[in-house]
């Protein structure tokens, strides 16, 4: 990945994240609770321990990204 254009485009896309995430508060909270519970538990946090919650969050995020015009 080289060139200023890529970096600038990535930053513009990234700037939309907080607004898009704001609309998915429920899913984000559910995912956060799942990870906090898994991390506090007796076993170590494994990969994809909270896969369903994350998929829900990702879907909500993708829908929000498609809905709002860039």
């Amino acid at each position: 990945m080289s060139g200023r254009g890529v970096w600038l485009r990535a930053r513009t896309r990234l700037r939309r994240f907080p607004a898009l995430l704001a609309g998915c508060g429920e899913q984000a909270a559910a995912y956060g609770r799942c990870v906090a519970a898994a991390a506090a538990g007796t076993t170590e946090l494994r990969r994809d321990a909270c896969l369903e919650e994350f998929r829900a969050l990702q879907d909500c995020f993708a829908r929000a990204a498609k809905a709002t015009p860039k």
Binding site: A28, A36, A39, R46, R47, C50, F61
Partner: protein
Amino acid sequence: MAAAAVGARALRGTGRPVLRAGWGAGWRRLWALSGRAAAAASSPVGASSGSGALSPFDRRLKRKQKNWAALQAEPAKCDYLREEVGSRIADRVYDITRTFPLALDVGSGRGYIARHLTKETVEKLIQVDIAENALKNAVESEIPTVSVVADEEFLPFKEDTFDLVVSSLSLHWVNDLPRAFREIHQVLKPDGVFIGAMFGGDTLYELRCSLQLAELEREGGFSPHISPFTAVADLGHLLSRAGFNTLTVDTDEIQVNYPGLFEVMEDLQGMGESNCSWNRKPLLHRETMLAAAAIYREMYGNSDGSVPATFQIFYMIGWKFHESQARPAQRGSATVSFGDLAKIDGLLSRGKK
């Protein structure tokens, strides 16, 4: 201005052959020389005794990051933390009721300490920073200032030059901290004082934990995204090993609330505090960032929806030895015993008579 010219001539006669302080047009030459010296000295061959430093930070990248941060459209937008710490350091300078003829600001950035000091406290100030754009955009101050582009580990000044050395929030990116402290101790005059502030211990632990948990859950492993910080006990040892006396180290915690993880990272970038460790992971996946933002909000969020970011600041004050300084009394020279503490009233009234 005559005094400044004399000062410049005195400083130019530095004994070290590699680095020469060049005022004005000589800026870039100075940086190029100390850059080569930095590359040569920080290569992990272990030639110098007692250092063994592995150079965890990429200083060239840090310079680019700081230059970029200083060239932003609104450089004052991300300055709040440095402003606050700069004013607290200026408070500590005022606590010492002396006038300092010549002072040095190591890693000054846009000059956050100078704007709080007066000509009565500091008569002349030299600001040193690794990023020339920050020095060029420095804020006006009433103290006559000279700017030098140099690395904090390779100060291009003669021994016993400065009455006061201050450093605000720049030593945490130094590769060889013991060496930086030794250099500062060297350029101080006897009975000179060093007042510094650096990030330590628990700084940004919320961000560190959120990224760590997100990477564990999303990718199965994690790599460090926050640079390692010094612990307060180590700081005391480092300062005394460098030769400082009468140490004072105290810690302060500043908590700043942000809307979310992305804003935290954006402001850190704007401050020039982006990660520049050699072992940093170059890519942070969008999914991981999303996951980290959700974890940050859930685990650490405030009731009003904002998230806190903790900055733990260590303030240190160290003096260079001089005969006039107070020293601990000799063993066996006590005139009263601790066992007599119960009779302290009697002792005091006897003393008054």
